[in-house]
Protein backbone atom coordinates (compact mmCIF):
# COMPACT_ATOMS: atom_id res chain seq x y z
CA UNK A 1 0.00 0.00 0.00
CA UNK A 2 2.79 2.33 0.99
CA UNK A 3 4.75 1.31 -2.12
CA UNK A 4 1.78 2.06 -4.37
CA UNK A 5 1.23 5.50 -2.80
CA UNK A 6 4.90 6.34 -3.16
CA UNK A 7 5.04 5.36 -6.82
CA UNK A 8 1.82 7.20 -7.57
CA UNK A 9 3.34 10.31 -6.02
CA UNK A 10 6.49 9.89 -8.14
CA UNK A 11 4.39 9.40 -11.28
CA UNK A 12 2.30 12.48 -10.46
CA UNK A 13 5.44 14.56 -10.07
CA UNK A 14 6.70 13.28 -13.44
CA UNK A 15 3.38 14.29 -14.99
CA UNK A 16 3.47 17.77 -13.42
CA UNK A 17 7.08 18.33 -14.37
CA UNK A 18 6.39 17.92 -18.08
CA UNK A 19 3.01 19.66 -17.89
CA UNK A 20 4.79 22.82 -16.69
CA UNK A 21 6.37 23.56 -20.05
CA UNK A 22 3.32 24.57 -22.08
CA UNK A 23 5.18 26.45 -24.81
CA UNK A 24 7.52 23.49 -25.31
CA UNK A 25 4.50 21.20 -25.57
CA UNK A 26 2.87 23.44 -28.16
CA UNK A 27 6.15 23.57 -30.10
CA UNK A 28 6.36 19.78 -30.01
CA UNK A 29 2.79 19.41 -31.26
CA UNK A 30 3.55 21.78 -34.13
CA UNK A 31 6.67 19.83 -35.13
CA UNK A 32 4.92 16.45 -34.87
CA UNK A 33 2.13 17.76 -37.08
CA UNK A 34 4.52 19.10 -39.73
CA UNK A 35 6.40 15.78 -39.82
CA UNK A 36 3.08 13.95 -39.98
CA UNK A 37 2.12 15.89 -43.10
CA UNK A 38 5.48 15.29 -44.81
CA UNK A 39 5.45 11.54 -44.06
CA UNK A 40 1.76 11.21 -44.95
CA UNK A 41 2.43 12.56 -48.46
CA UNK A 42 5.38 10.21 -49.02
CA UNK A 43 3.29 7.27 -47.82
CA UNK A 44 0.47 8.36 -50.15
CA UNK A 45 2.90 8.24 -53.08
CA UNK A 46 4.25 4.85 -52.00
CA UNK A 47 0.82 3.29 -51.54
CA UNK A 48 -0.33 4.88 -54.79
CA UNK A 49 2.38 2.86 -56.59
CA UNK A 50 1.81 -0.30 -54.57
CA UNK A 51 -1.69 -0.50 -53.04
CA UNK A 52 -1.90 -2.95 -50.12
CA UNK A 53 1.86 -2.76 -49.50
CA UNK A 54 2.67 -4.43 -46.19
CA UNK A 55 -0.96 -5.51 -45.84
CA UNK A 56 -2.26 -1.95 -45.31
CA UNK A 57 -4.59 -0.05 -47.58
CA UNK A 58 -3.96 3.65 -48.16
CA UNK A 59 -5.98 5.00 -45.24
CA UNK A 60 -4.43 2.42 -42.90
CA UNK A 61 -0.95 3.50 -44.02
CA UNK A 62 -1.87 7.13 -43.28
CA UNK A 63 -3.23 6.11 -39.88
CA UNK A 64 0.11 4.42 -39.21
CA UNK A 65 1.93 7.72 -39.88
CA UNK A 66 -0.25 9.73 -37.52
CA UNK A 67 -0.18 7.03 -34.83
CA UNK A 68 3.62 7.23 -34.99
CA UNK A 69 3.55 11.01 -34.55
CA UNK A 70 1.03 10.72 -31.71
CA UNK A 71 3.13 8.15 -29.84
CA UNK A 72 6.55 9.67 -30.65
CA UNK A 73 6.83 11.73 -27.45
CA UNK A 74 4.90 9.43 -25.09
CA UNK A 75 6.84 6.28 -26.03
CA UNK A 76 10.05 8.38 -26.29
CA UNK A 77 10.91 6.85 -29.67
CA UNK A 78 13.70 9.42 -30.06
CA UNK A 79 15.06 8.47 -26.66
CA UNK A 80 15.40 10.99 -23.85
CA UNK A 81 13.00 11.46 -20.96
CA UNK A 82 14.63 10.04 -17.84
CA UNK A 83 17.43 8.38 -19.87
CA UNK A 84 19.72 11.42 -20.12
CA UNK A 85 19.07 12.43 -16.53
CA UNK A 86 19.73 8.97 -15.13
CA UNK A 87 22.85 8.60 -17.24
CA UNK A 88 24.09 11.97 -16.00
CA UNK A 89 23.55 10.84 -12.38
CA UNK A 90 25.60 7.72 -13.10
CA UNK A 91 28.31 9.79 -14.76
CA UNK A 92 28.68 12.33 -11.98
CA UNK A 93 28.24 9.84 -9.16
CA UNK A 94 24.90 11.08 -7.79
CA UNK A 95 23.56 7.57 -8.39
CA UNK A 96 25.33 6.56 -5.17
CA UNK A 97 22.84 8.73 -3.26
CA UNK A 98 19.94 7.21 -5.21
CA UNK A 99 21.10 3.73 -4.25
CA UNK A 100 21.08 4.68 -0.56
CA UNK A 101 17.43 5.68 -0.68
CA UNK A 102 14.92 3.20 0.74
CA UNK A 103 13.17 2.90 -2.63
CA UNK A 104 13.76 0.65 -5.60
CA UNK A 105 15.77 2.48 -8.26
CA UNK A 106 14.17 0.86 -11.31
CA UNK A 107 10.64 1.22 -9.97
CA UNK A 108 11.28 4.87 -9.10
CA UNK A 109 12.35 5.76 -12.63
CA UNK A 110 9.57 3.63 -14.14
CA UNK A 111 6.95 5.51 -12.13
CA UNK A 112 8.52 8.82 -13.13
CA UNK A 113 8.58 7.83 -16.79
CA UNK A 114 4.97 6.61 -16.73
CA UNK A 115 3.94 9.99 -15.31
CA UNK A 116 5.81 11.78 -18.10
CA UNK A 117 4.30 9.48 -20.73
CA UNK A 118 0.77 9.97 -19.40
CA UNK A 119 1.12 13.72 -19.91
CA UNK A 120 2.77 13.44 -23.32
CA UNK A 121 0.22 10.93 -24.60
CA UNK A 122 -2.50 13.50 -24.00
CA UNK A 123 -0.51 16.72 -24.43
CA UNK A 124 1.44 15.72 -27.52
CA UNK A 125 -0.58 12.84 -28.92
CA UNK A 126 -4.15 14.02 -29.30
CA UNK A 127 -3.61 17.22 -31.29
CA UNK A 128 -1.43 15.77 -34.12
CA UNK A 129 -3.79 12.81 -34.49
CA UNK A 130 -6.78 15.18 -34.67
CA UNK A 131 -5.00 17.33 -37.28
CA UNK A 132 -4.25 14.23 -39.34
CA UNK A 133 -7.84 13.00 -39.08
CA UNK A 134 -9.15 16.40 -40.22
CA UNK A 135 -7.08 16.51 -43.41
CA UNK A 136 -6.67 12.86 -44.38
CA UNK A 137 -9.05 9.93 -44.53
CA UNK A 138 -7.85 7.83 -41.59
CA UNK A 139 -8.89 4.28 -40.72
CA UNK A 140 -9.64 4.99 -37.05
CA UNK A 141 -11.71 2.36 -35.25
CA UNK A 142 -15.23 3.22 -34.12
CA UNK A 143 -15.42 0.59 -31.40
CA UNK A 144 -14.41 1.80 -27.90
CA UNK A 145 -13.06 -1.70 -27.15
CA UNK A 146 -10.38 -1.29 -29.83
CA UNK A 147 -9.38 2.09 -28.40
CA UNK A 148 -9.08 0.51 -24.94
CA UNK A 149 -6.89 -2.24 -26.34
CA UNK A 150 -4.81 0.45 -28.07
CA UNK A 151 -4.36 2.30 -24.77
CA UNK A 152 -3.26 -0.95 -23.12
CA UNK A 153 -0.85 -1.59 -26.00
CA UNK A 154 0.49 1.97 -25.75
CA UNK A 155 1.08 1.44 -22.01
CA UNK A 156 3.04 -1.74 -22.73
CA UNK A 157 4.97 0.09 -25.46
CA UNK A 158 5.96 2.75 -22.92
CA UNK A 159 7.13 0.08 -20.45
CA UNK A 160 9.20 -1.71 -23.16
CA UNK A 161 10.68 1.62 -24.24
CA UNK A 162 11.47 2.43 -20.61
CA UNK A 163 13.16 -0.94 -20.07
CA UNK A 164 15.30 -0.44 -23.18
CA UNK A 165 16.33 3.09 -22.19
CA UNK A 166 17.09 1.87 -18.65
CA UNK A 167 19.52 -0.66 -20.12
CA UNK A 168 21.15 2.00 -22.31
CA UNK A 169 21.53 4.33 -19.35
CA UNK A 170 23.06 1.57 -17.19
CA UNK A 171 25.80 1.15 -19.82
CA UNK A 172 27.04 4.46 -18.41
CA UNK A 173 28.57 2.54 -15.51
CA UNK A 174 31.13 1.19 -17.97
CA UNK A 175 31.20 3.84 -20.71
CA UNK A 176 31.37 7.36 -19.41
CA UNK A 177 30.45 9.21 -22.57
CA UNK A 178 26.70 9.38 -23.05
CA UNK A 179 26.46 11.14 -26.37
CA UNK A 180 27.55 8.20 -28.53
CA UNK A 181 25.33 5.79 -26.64
CA UNK A 182 22.24 7.95 -26.74
CA UNK A 183 22.79 8.57 -30.45
CA UNK A 184 23.01 4.81 -31.01
CA UNK A 185 19.88 4.12 -28.94
CA UNK A 186 17.92 6.76 -30.89
CA UNK A 187 19.05 5.28 -34.21
CA UNK A 188 18.02 1.75 -33.33
CA UNK A 189 14.70 2.95 -31.94
CA UNK A 190 13.86 5.08 -34.99
CA UNK A 191 14.65 2.37 -37.49
CA UNK A 192 13.42 -0.79 -35.77
CA UNK A 193 10.24 0.63 -34.23
CA UNK A 194 8.70 1.31 -37.64
CA UNK A 195 8.92 5.11 -37.26
CA UNK A 196 10.68 5.60 -40.63
CA UNK A 197 8.75 2.88 -42.44
CA UNK A 198 6.31 0.24 -41.10
CA UNK A 199 8.14 -2.99 -40.33
CA UNK A 200 5.62 -4.90 -42.45
CA UNK A 201 7.09 -3.12 -45.50
CA UNK A 202 10.65 -4.34 -44.78
CA UNK A 203 11.42 -7.02 -47.38
CA UNK A 204 12.10 -10.73 -46.97
CA UNK A 205 13.95 -12.39 -44.10
CA UNK A 206 15.19 -9.02 -42.80
CA UNK A 207 11.57 -7.96 -42.41
CA UNK A 208 10.70 -11.18 -40.57
CA UNK A 209 13.66 -10.71 -38.23
CA UNK A 210 12.99 -7.06 -37.28
CA UNK A 211 9.39 -7.85 -36.37
CA UNK A 212 10.67 -10.05 -33.51
CA UNK A 213 12.99 -7.39 -32.03
CA UNK A 214 11.89 -5.51 -28.89
CA UNK A 215 11.61 -2.20 -30.79
CA UNK A 216 8.68 -3.68 -32.73
CA UNK A 217 6.77 -3.58 -29.44
CA UNK A 218 7.17 0.21 -29.19
CA UNK A 219 5.33 1.36 -32.34
CA UNK A 220 4.55 -1.41 -34.84
CA UNK A 221 2.41 -3.44 -32.41
CA UNK A 222 0.36 -0.53 -30.96
CA UNK A 223 -0.29 0.75 -34.48
CA UNK A 224 -1.41 -2.71 -35.61
CA UNK A 225 -3.69 -2.99 -32.59
CA UNK A 226 -5.31 0.34 -33.49
CA UNK A 227 -5.65 -0.67 -37.14
CA UNK A 228 -6.92 -4.16 -36.31
CA UNK A 229 -4.35 -5.29 -38.86
CA UNK A 230 -3.38 -8.54 -37.14
CA UNK A 231 -5.25 -11.49 -38.66
CA UNK A 232 -5.22 -13.36 -35.33
CA UNK A 233 -6.65 -10.41 -33.37
CA UNK A 234 -4.74 -8.11 -31.01
CA UNK A 235 -3.94 -10.59 -28.26
CA UNK A 236 -0.76 -12.13 -29.77
CA UNK A 237 0.63 -8.60 -30.23
CA UNK A 238 -0.13 -7.66 -26.61
CA UNK A 239 1.43 -10.92 -25.41
CA UNK A 240 4.54 -10.16 -27.51
CA UNK A 241 4.82 -6.75 -25.81
CA UNK A 242 4.28 -8.24 -22.36
CA UNK A 243 7.00 -10.86 -22.86
CA UNK A 244 9.53 -8.24 -24.01
CA UNK A 245 8.55 -5.93 -21.14
CA UNK A 246 9.17 -8.66 -18.55
CA UNK A 247 12.40 -9.88 -20.19
CA UNK A 248 13.87 -6.40 -20.55
CA UNK A 249 12.88 -5.24 -17.06
CA UNK A 250 14.51 -8.39 -15.66
CA UNK A 251 17.62 -7.76 -17.75
CA UNK A 252 17.71 -4.22 -16.36
CA UNK A 253 17.61 -5.57 -12.78
CA UNK A 254 20.37 -8.05 -13.55
CA UNK A 255 22.60 -5.44 -15.17
CA UNK A 256 21.98 -3.04 -12.29
CA UNK A 257 22.95 -5.79 -9.84
CA UNK A 258 26.17 -6.46 -11.74
CA UNK A 259 26.94 -2.76 -12.06
CA UNK A 260 26.44 -1.91 -8.40
CA UNK A 261 28.55 -4.93 -7.34
CA UNK A 262 31.49 -4.49 -9.64
CA UNK A 263 31.83 -0.86 -10.56
CA UNK A 264 33.39 1.92 -8.57
CA UNK A 265 31.11 4.94 -8.56
CA UNK A 266 32.48 8.16 -10.00
CA UNK A 267 32.84 11.29 -7.99
CA UNK A 268 34.29 12.28 -4.68
Amino acid sequence: MHLLRLNLAVAASGFRRYATYRVATAAGVFTNTVFGFILAYTFLALWHERPHLGGYDQSQALTFVWTGQALLAAVALLGGGFQDEFHERIRNGDVAIDLYRPVDLQLWWLAHDLGRAAFQLVGRGVAPMAAGALVFDLALPSSPAVWLLFLLSALLAIVVSFALRYLWALCGFWLLDATGLSALSTLMSLFFSGMLLPLTVFPGGFGDAVRWLPWAATLQVPADVLLGAHPGGSLPGLAFQLVWAVVLLAAGRLLQFVATRKVVVQGG
Partner: protein, 283 residues
Protein backbone atom coordinates in the same frame (compact mmCIF):
# COMPACT_ATOMS: atom_id res chain seq x y z
CA UNK B 1 32.79 64.78 -46.69
CA UNK B 2 29.66 62.61 -46.94
CA UNK B 3 31.56 60.23 -49.14
CA UNK B 4 34.37 59.73 -46.64
CA UNK B 5 31.81 59.33 -43.87
CA UNK B 6 29.96 56.56 -45.72
CA UNK B 7 33.33 55.07 -46.62
CA UNK B 8 34.26 54.99 -42.96
CA UNK B 9 30.92 53.40 -42.12
CA UNK B 10 31.45 50.73 -44.77
CA UNK B 11 34.93 50.06 -43.44
CA UNK B 12 33.59 49.76 -39.90
CA UNK B 13 30.88 47.29 -40.97
CA UNK B 14 33.39 45.30 -42.99
CA UNK B 15 35.89 45.33 -40.15
CA UNK B 16 33.25 44.08 -37.75
CA UNK B 17 32.26 41.28 -40.13
CA UNK B 18 35.89 40.21 -40.56
CA UNK B 19 36.40 40.30 -36.80
CA UNK B 20 33.22 38.24 -36.31
CA UNK B 21 34.51 35.59 -38.70
CA UNK B 22 37.98 35.54 -37.11
CA UNK B 23 36.46 35.20 -33.65
CA UNK B 24 34.29 32.37 -34.97
CA UNK B 25 37.49 30.69 -36.18
CA UNK B 26 39.19 31.09 -32.79
CA UNK B 27 36.25 29.62 -30.85
CA UNK B 28 35.75 26.78 -33.33
CA UNK B 29 39.46 25.90 -33.19
CA UNK B 30 39.25 25.81 -29.40
CA UNK B 31 36.33 23.37 -29.50
CA UNK B 32 38.11 21.20 -32.07
CA UNK B 33 41.16 21.00 -29.79
CA UNK B 34 39.02 20.12 -26.78
CA UNK B 35 37.02 17.45 -28.62
CA UNK B 36 40.25 15.97 -29.94
CA UNK B 37 41.18 15.11 -26.37
CA UNK B 38 38.41 12.46 -26.39
CA UNK B 39 39.21 10.66 -29.61
CA UNK B 40 37.04 7.60 -29.00
CA UNK B 41 34.00 9.83 -28.42
CA UNK B 42 34.87 11.78 -31.52
CA UNK B 43 35.02 8.58 -33.59
CA UNK B 44 31.74 7.28 -32.12
CA UNK B 45 29.94 10.55 -32.80
CA UNK B 46 31.35 10.73 -36.33
CA UNK B 47 30.04 7.22 -36.97
CA UNK B 48 26.72 8.02 -35.30
CA UNK B 49 26.25 11.12 -37.44
CA UNK B 50 27.11 9.08 -40.51
CA UNK B 51 24.70 6.31 -39.54
CA UNK B 52 21.79 8.56 -38.54
CA UNK B 53 21.50 10.02 -42.03
CA UNK B 54 22.39 6.68 -43.62
CA UNK B 55 19.25 5.23 -42.01
CA UNK B 56 17.11 7.87 -43.74
CA UNK B 57 18.56 6.73 -47.02
CA UNK B 58 18.13 3.08 -46.03
CA UNK B 59 14.41 3.79 -45.59
CA UNK B 60 14.32 5.26 -49.10
CA UNK B 61 16.07 2.21 -50.59
CA UNK B 62 13.64 -0.06 -48.71
CA UNK B 63 10.81 1.87 -50.37
CA UNK B 64 12.44 1.34 -53.75
CA UNK B 65 12.75 -2.39 -53.00
CA UNK B 66 8.95 -2.33 -53.34
CA UNK B 67 8.42 0.22 -56.14
CA UNK B 68 10.30 1.34 -59.26
CA UNK B 69 9.39 5.00 -59.04
CA UNK B 70 8.07 7.40 -56.40
CA UNK B 71 6.05 10.33 -57.70
CA UNK B 72 7.50 9.51 -61.14
CA UNK B 73 11.13 9.73 -59.94
CA UNK B 74 13.60 6.82 -60.02
CA UNK B 75 16.01 5.88 -57.21
CA UNK B 76 19.05 7.72 -58.69
CA UNK B 77 16.93 10.85 -59.11
CA UNK B 78 15.66 10.67 -55.52
CA UNK B 79 19.26 9.98 -54.41
CA UNK B 80 20.27 13.18 -56.21
CA UNK B 81 17.61 15.16 -54.32
CA UNK B 82 18.67 13.45 -51.08
CA UNK B 83 22.39 14.11 -51.66
CA UNK B 84 22.04 17.77 -52.61
CA UNK B 85 19.68 18.67 -49.76
CA UNK B 86 21.60 16.73 -47.12
CA UNK B 87 25.04 18.07 -48.10
CA UNK B 88 23.62 21.61 -47.99
CA UNK B 89 21.96 20.97 -44.65
CA UNK B 90 25.09 19.26 -43.30
CA UNK B 91 27.21 22.32 -44.11
CA UNK B 92 24.73 24.64 -42.40
CA UNK B 93 24.50 22.31 -39.39
CA UNK B 94 28.29 22.13 -39.11
CA UNK B 95 28.74 25.91 -39.23
CA UNK B 96 25.61 27.21 -37.46
CA UNK B 97 23.87 24.19 -35.92
CA UNK B 98 24.41 25.20 -32.30
CA UNK B 99 22.42 28.40 -32.78
CA UNK B 100 19.49 26.29 -31.59
CA UNK B 101 20.90 26.45 -28.07
CA UNK B 102 19.95 30.11 -27.65
CA UNK B 103 16.81 29.23 -25.68
CA UNK B 104 18.79 27.21 -23.16
CA UNK B 105 21.27 30.05 -22.73
CA UNK B 106 18.49 32.55 -22.14
CA UNK B 107 16.87 30.21 -19.60
CA UNK B 108 19.99 29.47 -17.57
CA UNK B 109 21.35 33.02 -17.79
CA UNK B 110 24.60 32.24 -19.66
CA UNK B 111 23.55 34.56 -22.49
CA UNK B 112 24.74 37.45 -20.29
CA UNK B 113 28.31 36.14 -20.46
CA UNK B 114 28.25 36.28 -24.26
CA UNK B 115 27.06 39.89 -24.19
CA UNK B 116 30.00 41.01 -22.08
CA UNK B 117 32.61 39.69 -24.50
CA UNK B 118 33.98 41.95 -27.26
CA UNK B 119 32.87 39.47 -29.96
CA UNK B 120 29.63 39.50 -31.99
CA UNK B 121 27.07 37.33 -30.17
CA UNK B 122 26.16 35.45 -33.34
CA UNK B 123 29.78 34.33 -33.79
CA UNK B 124 29.87 33.06 -30.23
CA UNK B 125 26.52 31.31 -30.41
CA UNK B 126 27.28 29.69 -33.77
CA UNK B 127 30.78 28.52 -32.85
CA UNK B 128 29.70 27.27 -29.44
CA UNK B 129 30.39 23.53 -29.14
CA UNK B 130 31.61 23.47 -32.72
CA UNK B 131 31.77 19.76 -33.55
CA UNK B 132 33.75 18.43 -36.47
CA UNK B 133 32.00 15.08 -36.03
CA UNK B 134 29.06 16.61 -37.91
CA UNK B 135 31.23 15.99 -40.98
CA UNK B 136 29.84 12.43 -40.78
CA UNK B 137 26.52 13.68 -42.10
CA UNK B 138 28.13 15.57 -44.97
CA UNK B 139 30.32 12.58 -45.84
CA UNK B 140 27.36 10.20 -46.00
CA UNK B 141 25.26 12.59 -48.08
CA UNK B 142 28.26 13.26 -50.33
CA UNK B 143 28.65 9.53 -51.00
CA UNK B 144 24.97 9.21 -51.93
CA UNK B 145 25.26 12.27 -54.17
CA UNK B 146 28.36 10.81 -55.86
CA UNK B 147 26.58 7.50 -56.41
CA UNK B 148 23.55 9.24 -57.95
CA UNK B 149 25.79 11.24 -60.32
CA UNK B 150 27.33 8.01 -61.68
CA UNK B 151 23.87 6.55 -62.24
CA UNK B 152 22.04 9.53 -63.73
CA UNK B 153 23.81 9.56 -67.12
CA UNK B 154 23.40 13.30 -67.47
CA UNK B 155 25.34 15.36 -69.96
CA UNK B 156 27.57 17.39 -67.61
CA UNK B 157 27.71 20.77 -69.31
CA UNK B 158 29.37 23.71 -67.58
CA UNK B 159 25.91 25.12 -66.82
CA UNK B 160 24.82 21.95 -65.01
CA UNK B 161 28.06 21.83 -63.01
CA UNK B 162 27.66 25.47 -61.97
CA UNK B 163 24.06 24.83 -60.98
CA UNK B 164 25.07 21.83 -58.85
CA UNK B 165 27.76 23.79 -56.99
CA UNK B 166 25.50 26.81 -56.45
CA UNK B 167 22.71 24.50 -55.30
CA UNK B 168 24.81 23.10 -52.47
CA UNK B 169 26.30 26.47 -51.44
CA UNK B 170 23.07 28.48 -51.63
CA UNK B 171 21.21 25.62 -49.97
CA UNK B 172 23.67 25.74 -47.08
CA UNK B 173 23.14 29.51 -46.77
CA UNK B 174 19.34 29.15 -46.79
CA UNK B 175 19.43 26.41 -44.13
CA UNK B 176 21.93 28.51 -42.17
CA UNK B 177 19.41 31.37 -42.19
CA UNK B 178 16.76 28.98 -40.85
CA UNK B 179 19.11 28.14 -37.96
CA UNK B 180 19.74 31.82 -37.22
CA UNK B 181 16.02 32.63 -37.47
CA UNK B 182 15.26 29.73 -35.14
CA UNK B 183 17.83 31.05 -32.69
CA UNK B 184 16.41 34.58 -32.90
CA UNK B 185 12.90 33.25 -32.32
CA UNK B 186 14.04 31.73 -29.03
CA UNK B 187 14.79 35.18 -27.59
CA UNK B 188 11.00 35.55 -27.45
CA UNK B 189 9.97 31.92 -26.86
CA UNK B 190 12.72 30.16 -24.93
CA UNK B 191 11.01 26.80 -24.68
CA UNK B 192 9.98 26.61 -28.31
CA UNK B 193 13.27 25.38 -29.75
CA UNK B 194 11.48 22.36 -31.13
CA UNK B 195 9.57 24.51 -33.64
CA UNK B 196 12.87 24.92 -35.43
CA UNK B 197 13.10 21.15 -36.00
CA UNK B 198 9.97 21.34 -38.14
CA UNK B 199 11.85 23.58 -40.59
CA UNK B 200 15.35 22.10 -40.35
CA UNK B 201 14.88 18.33 -39.99
CA UNK B 202 11.37 18.58 -41.47
CA UNK B 203 12.92 20.56 -44.32
CA UNK B 204 15.48 17.94 -45.29
CA UNK B 205 12.94 15.14 -44.96
CA UNK B 206 10.72 17.09 -47.36
CA UNK B 207 13.48 17.93 -49.85
CA UNK B 208 14.67 14.31 -50.05
CA UNK B 209 11.50 13.42 -51.93
CA UNK B 210 10.39 14.77 -55.30
CA UNK B 211 7.98 17.74 -55.16
CA UNK B 212 5.46 15.73 -57.20
CA UNK B 213 4.86 13.61 -54.09
CA UNK B 214 3.45 16.51 -52.09
CA UNK B 215 0.27 18.56 -52.32
CA UNK B 216 0.55 21.74 -54.40
CA UNK B 217 -0.27 23.93 -51.38
CA UNK B 218 2.67 22.47 -49.49
CA UNK B 219 5.01 23.01 -52.46
CA UNK B 220 3.75 26.60 -52.79
CA UNK B 221 4.34 27.10 -49.08
CA UNK B 222 7.98 26.01 -49.23
CA UNK B 223 8.54 28.09 -52.38
CA UNK B 224 7.05 31.42 -51.36
CA UNK B 225 6.74 31.39 -47.54
CA UNK B 226 9.73 29.38 -46.28
CA UNK B 227 11.89 29.31 -49.43
CA UNK B 228 13.25 25.79 -48.95
CA UNK B 229 12.32 24.85 -52.53
CA UNK B 230 15.31 26.91 -53.68
CA UNK B 231 17.71 24.69 -51.71
CA UNK B 232 17.44 21.90 -54.24
CA UNK B 233 13.97 21.32 -55.71
CA UNK B 234 13.88 24.06 -58.34
CA UNK B 235 17.53 23.87 -59.48
CA UNK B 236 17.55 20.05 -59.26
CA UNK B 237 14.49 19.78 -61.50
CA UNK B 238 16.36 21.89 -64.05
CA UNK B 239 19.47 19.68 -63.77
CA UNK B 240 17.37 16.53 -64.13
CA UNK B 241 15.42 18.03 -67.03
CA UNK B 242 12.05 17.77 -65.26
CA UNK B 243 9.09 20.14 -65.22
CA UNK B 244 8.20 21.60 -61.87
CA UNK B 245 4.69 20.77 -60.65
CA UNK B 246 3.76 24.44 -60.07
CA UNK B 247 4.73 25.49 -63.62
CA UNK B 248 6.82 28.43 -62.35
CA UNK B 249 8.76 30.60 -64.83
CA UNK B 250 12.13 29.07 -65.82
CA UNK B 251 14.28 31.87 -64.37
CA UNK B 252 13.22 30.86 -60.87
CA UNK B 253 15.42 27.76 -61.19
CA UNK B 254 18.41 30.13 -61.13
CA UNK B 255 17.10 32.43 -58.38
CA UNK B 256 18.66 30.53 -55.46
CA UNK B 257 21.61 32.95 -54.94
CA UNK B 258 19.26 35.94 -54.81
CA UNK B 259 16.90 34.09 -52.46
CA UNK B 260 19.85 33.14 -50.25
CA UNK B 261 20.92 36.80 -50.07
CA UNK B 262 17.39 37.90 -49.18
CA UNK B 263 17.26 35.23 -46.47
CA UNK B 264 20.54 36.52 -45.03
CA UNK B 265 19.18 40.05 -44.86
CA UNK B 266 15.96 38.87 -43.20
CA UNK B 267 17.70 36.55 -40.76
CA UNK B 268 20.25 39.24 -39.85
CA UNK B 269 17.54 41.82 -39.17
CA UNK B 270 15.51 39.41 -37.04
CA UNK B 271 18.58 38.25 -35.14
CA UNK B 272 19.38 41.85 -34.20
CA UNK B 273 15.75 42.47 -33.24
CA UNK B 274 15.82 39.34 -31.10
CA UNK B 275 19.03 40.39 -29.41
CA UNK B 276 17.53 43.83 -28.66
CA UNK B 277 14.43 42.18 -27.19
CA UNK B 278 16.55 39.99 -24.91
CA UNK B 279 15.91 40.41 -21.23
CA UNK B 280 18.20 38.73 -18.79
CA UNK B 281 16.74 36.21 -16.39
CA UNK B 282 19.10 37.57 -13.75
CA UNK B 283 20.73 35.28 -11.26
Amino acid sequence: MAETLSGACARAVLGRAVWGLRAYGFIAAMWIRSSWAYRASFAIMLAANFASTALDFAAITLMFAQVDALGGFTLPEVAFLYGTSCVAFGLADLLLGTAERVGRRVRDGTMDILLTRPVPVLSQVAADRFALNRLGRILQAGLVLGWSLTRLELDWTAGRMALLVSMVLCGAVIFGCVFVLGGAFQFWAQDASEVQNAFTYGGITLLQYPPTVFGKELVRGVTFVVPLAFVNWLPALRVLGRDDPLGLPGWMDFAAPAVALLCCAGAGALWRAGLRAYRSTGN
